[in-house]
């Protein structure tokens, strides 16, 4: 095999536009991390390892033919449910919530697995019943979504529950759930809001109330929002310049390598930088939509659409919370925030998108 052939073999199942967009965002991550970590190489280098590991997994998934991908849906979903039930029964309590499961060698957070498992399962279910879709099928699919959501919301991990709900809802929406049913659902959600409110934990209510007046809790979570907004606002149009953010370097910004990394970026690169970042995200999202539109089967269409829309949601929720229009729910900025788990989950999703794009010619007979 010549070098050229080998190269072709390796890149055969990679989608180059998508890879370009992802890589640019990851590069941004390293640049901002260096500043957020006070010009230290510690976090950026460690993030490089996260990226390499996640890219490898992405490559493996991208090379997986579609029927294999479909076959993983049920096992992944069942495993996820089993782990979630285990968490509810014997999970470890940390920060007042039961989210982690100790499996001897490590502690894992099964709700992370369900970020992929739930849309995968729903897409698989719709594919199975494609020919004879009735309202009953939508109902069952919604049930597949609600069971894990209920378990995750009970932990309680409201942020993850809402995000997984969103990814599941996207599948329902793309699968053609009628507007009338969605209207009824929306009305029901509005009507049940007071009931849900009474079911929320005190700290969750507190966070929602705080959104309207962050100064209420200026020492606690409100401090995050206030400092985040100051960082973004003081950045102005052109920003304070790389490594010159005062909020960042004078220790005012909390969690600045993880959930609040956008504040660091925004303070130093300003509105112009934000515009570029939004364009980068839109480029990746747009490519995702192109792949979705071209997808050859019902399953792959639903899956690709859900992955893309979920990615967009993550980006919106994170930037929204840092700039003070959404509550602080602990969602990292996708592909930019420091952390291995979210990087891995995201790139598994992109691996699936690439697999969907590059295997479709084989399916289309």
């Amino acid at each position: 095999m010549t070098r050229r052939q080998l190269w072709r073999r390796i890149t055969a199942h990679l989608d180059l536009p998508l890879l370009l967009g992802i890589s640019l965002l990851m590069l941004t991550s390293l640049v901002v991390l260096y500043s957020a970590d006070n010009a230290s190489w510690h976090r950026p280098l460690s993030q490089v390892l996260n990226i390499v590991a996640a890219l490898t997994c992405m490559w493996l998934v991208a090379n997986l033919p579609l029927h294999y991908l479909m076959r993983t849906a049920v096992p992944i979903y069942l495993l996820g449910m089993l782990l979630l039930i285990c968490v509810a029964l014997f999970g470890e309590i940390s920060h007042g919530a039961r989210r982690w499961l100790n499996i001897g060698v490590a502690t894992i957070q099964p709700s992370e697995l369900m970020k992929i498992g739930v849309p995968l399962m729903m897409a698989w279910y719709f594919e199975k019943h494609e020919a004879t879709l009735t309202l009953k099928n939508y109902f069952i699919a919604a049930l597949l979504l609600l069971m894990p959501i209920a378990l995750i919301a009970r932990q309680p991990d409201l942020g993850t529950a809402i995000l997984i709900s969103a990814s599941g809802f996207y599948v329902l929406f793309l699968a053609g759930l009628s507007w009338r049913v969605m209207g009824v659902m929306f009305a029901a959600a509005l009507a049940s809001a007071p009931v849900l409110w009474s079911m929320l934990h005190d700290y969750q209510r507190h966070r929602i109330l705080m959104l309207f007046d962050p100064s209420q809790d200026a020492l606690g979570k409100g401090y995050h929002t206030i400092q985040g907004m100051i960082a973004v606002g003081s950045g102005g149009i052109l920003g304070k310049g790389y490594l010159n953010g005062t909020q960042t370097h004078l220790d005012f910004l909390p969690e600045r390598t993880t959930d609040f990394i956008f504040a660091v970026y925004s303070e130093e690169f300003g509105l112009l930088g934000n515009l570029i970042l939004l364009l980068l995200y839109f480029f990746v999202i747009g490519r995702g939509f192109v792949i979705t539109a071209n997808a050859s089967t019902y399953f792959t269409r639903l899956m690709a659409g859900s992955i893309t829309l979920t990615f967009a949601t993550y980006a919106f929720v994170n930037m929204g919370m840092v700039s003070g229009i959404l509550p602080v729910v602990g969602v990292p900025l996708p592909l930019v925030s420091y952390g291995g788990t979210s990087m891995l989950t995201l790139l598994l999703g992109f691996g699936m998108l690439m697999s969907i794009e590059t295997h479709k010619k084989l399916v289309k007979t």
Partner: protein, 633 residues
């Protein structure tokens, strides 16, 4: 199915899907537009505002630490309070040569090696950019001397801080506990409980004792001051202020004077004393000897003092009253007698003939009575008065371990009493099930025999035994023991009284209770095992002595205190309540390696009872001499 129709459906499906996809793209564009709008608002419209906040006048959120709540005894005697004092503090991030700075400071005021060691430890544990204390409790003269020389030290400052003080020191160390500097573990704990925000600015947290158990009441709510600071960090203007709310004041059920007298009564003995008002469960005195000086811990203990405390053979840091687990010895006998009556195993009048030992049927192993040759003919009343072992070997065997377990556990043995102090241990009340689990072995008849005299697998804490004694004194109606009588809120000046309500009623037969209590009252009369210590008391004491073996003896060996290493000598127990007819106080005394309950423990109890019931304050005694008399229990 018709192929034609399917194809048509398929195309229509694709059309609908793409329509929805287009809507999705619109949705994403809308989200991005919202974000962009927000950015324009923050970064252009409001830019000047945030620019001002961030650049020239940063808002600094300054926490204002609340005053910690006081701890008072039942009569208002202060057991823990705050006083303000000056400390000398160094900011390590502004110091280039720490050693030189400290040496130079030592020319102005005394800085002891202990101060230096403590400072080093603080430096190693530093969490954020805080200043660290090098000297505390500065005198006015020292403050003045430093103020003059201040210009030479730009990294050193004098700060006014509140200090915690424990006026009774060692005497209440195991009860009140102490506060200490917040460390990594505390931070994790606080974050887990979502309390971290309220501890911003706080340096101290309750580490042991009531300071720990009632941390939430004592700490108070942290206030916030939003101030504008210039780029050098100096406060320019106050924007808003939310005042702190001081911690609540705890009023204990403890009687400080009683506590002191009890503490003194121990002399040089190690041990524990717990006194409870049986009518409501209020703990009146809670002593664990030896104590330690809690103020050592407040400012961070220096390594040398820590080693001394930690490695002392006396284990002064061990809370014996709450956590010490000892065989109950003969103090279990009144409860065993009640069990015998309850299950109708032995009638009060049934006598046994005591040859000085007990055999299980078909075994030659001798379980010996403490009195060689035995007590002759013994009924239940006499068995308590003279503490006959043989009687209880037999009784336990006849009762069987299942009955013993079920009856004694109702008195709270083998369980935590639920005292409002963290770290209680639960003792051990053995059962068949327990032995199978612990030793993977079944229960043998021989195991039951020694349980009868409190010398088998069973272990009790002084707290537990005090609870059981109080329940017995109160005719089987148990009140949950508690240390706090009242919480005085500083927020709205409301007082929360801790109400005493009975936890359970064992529904014991009055005739049974009468017999056991009369026998216990006879224990302190001539002929009983605690006669000497009770002589001349103008009220009746009901009691029971006990001896807990530290080292097991071989068959046929004789116990001889003088030949045994002091730390292997038996522990002395005494449980009592008085006045016997209408008990106002129930107590437990444990004197470690004290030998016999009647000789060592009972005299300590007597002093406590004399003060509580008669108001009699004992004269300061010379250190107690080891009793070498051959009195047994």
């Amino acid at each position: 199915m018709n192929k034609h129709v399917e194809l048509k459906n398929h195309l229509r499906e694709i059309f609908y899907f793409r329509l929805r996809l287009a809507i999705s793209i619109g949705f994403v564009l809308a989200l991005l537009a919202i974000l962009l709008g927000r950015f324009v608002y923050l970064q252009i419209v409001r830019h000047d505002y945030y620019q001002t906040l961030a650049e020239s006048n940063r808002i600094s959120v300054v926490p204002i630490v609340p005053n910690r709540g006081l701890i008072l005894d039942r009569n208002g005697v202060v057991l823990a309070h705050n006083y303000s004092g000056y400390t000398l503090e160094i900011n390590p991030s502004k110091t280039t040569d720490m050693e030189a700075t400290i040496n130079e400071l030592s020319t102005l005021m005394e800085i002891s090696p202990k101060d230096r060691k403590r400072f080093k430890k603080l430096l190693a544990e530093r969490r954020n950019s805080e200043t660290l204390m090098i000297r505390n409790r500065l005198t006015d003269e020292e403050v003045a001397r430093f103020a003059v020389q201040q210009y030479r030290f730009n990294s050193v400052e004098i700060k006014a801080r509140l200090f915690r003080d424990y006026p009774l020191g060692e005497k209440t160390a195991h009860l009140i506990g102490y506060i200490g500097r917040i460390n990594e573990t505390d931070v994790e704990q606080l974050e887990e409980n979502d309390l971290a925000a309220n501890y911003r600015g706080s340096d101290y947290i309750g580490k042991t004792g009531l300071e720990q158990s009632y941390e939430n009441e004592l700490h108070g709510a942290t206030g916030v001051e939003q101030v504008e600071v210039d780029s050098a960090g100096r406060a320019v203007r106050m924007l808003s202020r939310k005042p702190p709310i001081s911690g609540n004041t705890l009023v204990l059920s403890i009687d400080a004077k009683l506590q002191e007298i009890a503490e003194q009564a121990f002399g040089n003995y190690r041990g524990a004393l717990v006194a409870i008002d049986p009518n409501n469960g209020e703990v009146l005195a809670f002593v664990s000897k030896p104590g330690y000086d809690p103020s050592l811990f407040v400012d961070g203990i220096d390594p040398q003092s820590w080693d001394e405390l930690n490695n002392s053979p006396d284990h002064p840091l061990n809370n014996r009253a709450l956590r010490g687990q000892y065989p109950p010895g003969s103090t279990i006998k009144p409860f065993m007698a009640l069990a015998g009556l309850f299950y109708n195993t032995r009638s009060p009048s049934r006598t046994i003939s005591d040859p000085g030992y007990f055999n299980l049927p078909g075994s030659s192993h001798q379980y010996r009575d403490w009195k060689k040759g035995g007590h002759g003919s013994v009924d239940m009343f006499k068995s308590i008065v003279i503490s006959c072992d043989t009687y209880y070997y037999g009784l336990a065997t006849e009762l069987g371990i299942d009955n013993i377990f079920s009856f004694l556990s109702r008195f709270g043995f083998g369980k935590k009493t639920g005292l409002d102090l963290e770290g209680e241990t639960s003792g051990l009340l053995p059962s068949q099930e327990w032995k199978m689990k612990r030793y993977k072995d079944k229960w043998y008849a021989g195991d039951t025999v020694s349980v009868g005299i409190g010398q088998g697998y069973n272990l009790v804490t002084p707290m537990q035994l005090a609870f059981a004694t109080a329940t017995l004194a109160n005719n089987g109606i148990g009140y949950k023991p508690h240390l706090i009588r009242e919480v005085r809120s500083s927020r709205n000046h409301e007082n929360r009284l801790i109400e005493a309500k009975p936890e359970f009623d064992l529904k014991l037969d009055p005739a049974h209770l009468d017999l056991v209590k009369r026998a216990m009252a006879a224990v302190t009369q001539p002929g009983g095992t605690a006669a000497q210590a009770s002589a001349g008391a103008p009220y009746h004491i009901a009691g029971k002595t006990g001896t807990a073996q530290v080292v097991a003896m071989k068959q046929g060996e004789k116990y001889d205190a003088s030949k045994i290493d002091e730390r292997h000598r038996d522990h002395a127990w005494f449980i009592a309540f008085a006045p016997a007819e209408q008990p106002k106080i129930a107590l437990v005394v444990l004197a470690e390696n004290g030998g016999h309950g009647g000789g060592t423990a009972a005299p300590i109890a007597r002093k406590v009872l004399d003060y509580y019931l008669l108001g009699k304050v004992p004269k300061p005694l010379p250190d107690m001499v080891e009793s070498e008399d051959e009195q047994h229990d």
